[in-house]
């Protein structure tokens, strides 16, 4: 547990940020929520009445993939796990934050 949690936490932070950014960019939502109808649907669905919300689905996709990646990383031999630079836990999310600022730039440049 003492050895496994830091590996899980670092891999989770890295993979979650990457998968979330890709999920938003390519719209890989695990499910869609239709708030006007209070209805959920599997995968990416078009808007019915009112808007379709993918945010919850993007987070679900990211959390599942990151959890699996974290668990797999915990199974790696100690020597391989030592090569994991802990700084990735902040560097990759920082890059994801900058990516979203770039992705949404049109809102601020109009």
């Amino acid at each position: 547990m003492r050895r496994a949690f830091p590996i899980f936490a670092i891999v989770f932070a890295v993979v979650y940020a990457v998968v979330y950014a890709v999920s938003v960019w390519k719209n890989y939502a695990l499910f869609t929520y239709h708030p006007a109808l209070n209805e959920f649907g599997m995968g990416v669905q078009k808007a019915k009445e009112g808007p379709a919300m993918y945010w919850y689905g993007w987070m679900a996709t990211s959390a599942i993939v990151a959890s699996l990646a974290g668990l797999v990383a915990c199974l790696l031999p100690e020597q391989a796990a030592r090569r994991l630079w802990p700084g990735l836990a902040w560097l990759v999310p920082l890059c994801a934050m900058l990516f979203f600022a770039w992705l949404l730039r049109e809102y601020f440049l109009r």
């Binding site: 899980f8 670092i10 919300m53 987070m59």
Partner: protein, 150 residues
């Protein structure tokens, strides 16, 4: 009901803002002990003790925000679009993404405050503090533009 949830969401965010700001100030700008001035005492808190509170408050604030977000998408966002308030709209879009990225950082953040050397503390705490401040200010501004029940 949504208005009540929004107020609770705001109150949790205020508590989170206070906790993460104390902690970020103490790790980025350590104060000499004993601290004499007001700013010195602000920075001289026992920062590790805030980590559990920050994680719990962040998760609770995010869950409540997620609950009332549907109301925003149905009734508020459309008004921002019609009024061509692109910067406010984009700022809120960024808020939702930053909140999600912050959730993914929480396990590493929590673990960093359990370590004696704590090299990860400063960057992770600073980033979470930035996310919390951005989300608080944007939420406050958007609520001022088109608060619930208006």
């Amino acid at each position: 009901m949504t208005t009540v949830l929004l107020i609770v969401h705001g109150l949790l965010a205020v508590a989170l803002l206070g906790a993460i700001t104390h902690q970020a100030a103490s790790v980025l700008w350590p104060a000499p002990r004993p601290a004499g001035s007001f700013t010195g005492r602000f920075r001289a808190v026992a920062a590790p003790g805030y980590a559990n509170t920050v994680v719990i408050l962040y998760v609770m604030t995010a869950i409540l925000g997620g609950v009332i977000y549907a109301e925003y998408r149905v009734n508020i966002r459309i008004v921002l679009v019609e009024l061509k308030l692109d910067a406010a709209n984009g700022s809120f879009e960024l808020k939702e993404h930053l909140a999600a990225i912050g959730l993914g950082m929480l396990p590493a953040y929590w673990w960093s405050w359990r370590q004696p050397d704590g090299r990860l503390r400063a960057p992770l705490t600073a980033m979470l503090a930035f996310i919390v401040w951005w989300n608080f200010l944007v939420g406050h501004i958007v609520n001022n533009i088109r608060g619930f029940g208006s």
